[in-house]
Symmetry: C5
Subunit: 87 residues, 5 copies
Amino acid sequence: MIVGKVVGSLVSTRKNDNLIGSKFMIIEPLSKMQGENSRLVAVDNVGAGIGETVLVATGSAARVGCGMPDAPIDAAIVGIVDDGMGL
Amino acid sequence: MIVGKVVGSLVSTRKNDNLIGSKFMIIEPLSKMQGENSRLVAVDNVGAGIGETVLVATGSAARVGCGMPDAPIDAAIVGIVDDGMGL
Amino acid sequence: MIVGKVVGSLVSTRKNDNLIGSKFMIIEPLSKMQGENSRLVAVDNVGAGIGETVLVATGSAARVGCGMPDAPIDAAIVGIVDDGMGL
Amino acid sequence: MIVGKVVGSLVSTRKNDNLIGSKFMIIEPLSKMQGENSRLVAVDNVGAGIGETVLVATGSAARVGCGMPDAPIDAAIVGIVDDGMGL
Amino acid sequence: MIVGKVVGSLVSTRKNDNLIGSKFMIIEPLSKMQGENSRLVAVDNVGAGIGETVLVATGSAARVGCGMPDAPIDAAIVGIVDDGMGL
C-alpha cells in the first residue's frame, strides 16, 4: 500500500455500471513513497475527505478487498492515517 | 485508476479471438499522473471518442470489471470525466 | 496494453513444464509508451515475426486471456498492429 | 519480492473492516532494489520489528499467500532476512 | 517476463509457512530490460545457479504458474536462457 493525501475528486456521469455510486478521489502519494507526477484516482472505501492522509491499496486488492470484485477498480482508499513513524 | 486523454486508436486484424469486436484507444495520461512516454492502449468500455478525458482502470480490473474475464485485456476506459478538482 | 516492436527471440531448454511449446519474443516498446531500457519477453499468441509491430498484454491477462491460466506467463503478444493513429 | 528495511509503522483507526488487527509497517527498499522515493506500506505477516531487513511480497501474492484473500492488502512482509549474498 | 542474471541468494529462517523449502535468488535484470537499481528476489523453479541468465515471471503468474498458488511469491525463475537474439 502507499500513503497519500487526498487532493481532489472526480465526476464521471457516463461510466461502467459497476462504478455507479462510487466516489472517486485524487491521491497525491507522499514524496518518499513515489516520485513526482504520480497522482492516481482511488475509490473511497472509508469516507475520506479532501486534505486527509490516507492508506491506498492498489491492484486486485482494491476491488476484492473492498467487496466490489466485479467492478473495474484498481485503487481504493482503505484507511485514514492517524499517525505514522517513518512516513 | 488514472486519468488520461484519448489521443488515437489502433487497428489490429490478426489478433487473439477474445479481442474481436474490441475498440483499442491510445491514452496519454495526464502529466501529473505519469511521467513522459507513458502512453498505453486501453479497450473502450463506455463509448469514448478522440480528445475526451477518460478514467482508465488497469490490471485484472480491466477485464474482470468490464465483463471480459477471458480476454487478454489489461487496461480499459471505464468512465468519461466530466469534471475534476485536483487533476 | 502497450505497443512494441518484436526485436528478437529467446531459447530456453530447461524451463517450467507449462512453458513447453511457447515461443518467447523480445519486445521493444514504442518510445512514447515507455522510457528507455524497458524491453520485455512476451509469449507469442498470434504468430508474430521479428520486426512486426505488436500489441502486448501484461499481467494476469496474458495467461488467462490466452488460454494458458496455469502457465507462468506475465506478458503475451495478442495482436499484430496494422495501423495506428497517435502511436 | 524485494528486500527492504522496516523504518516505521502506521496507525489507522478508521479503516476497512478486513484490515482490523493488521500491523502496518513502512518499508524502505534496498537502494539496489529500487530507486529513491519508493517507500511502501506492508502488512506484517512474520512479526518483524523496526530496523529489521525483510522480504516483502507485493500484488495478489500478499493477500492470497498470507491467508487474507479478502483483505485490501497489496504488500506483506513474508520473511526476516538472516543473510544475503548479492543484496 | 524479463531476463536477468542470478547474482546472489538469500537466507530467511523466520518466514511465512508457505515459503518453507523455497530457494530465494537475487536477480539483476539485463540493462536493456530495466533501469539501474532494479534487483529483485525470485523463487527458483528450475534449478538455476549463481551467474546463470534466467527468465523471470512476475505477478500472479509466479505462484499460479509454478504450482504454489497459496504462497506469497510474486516472482519466479521459470527458465534458463540458452541463447537470445535481441537481448
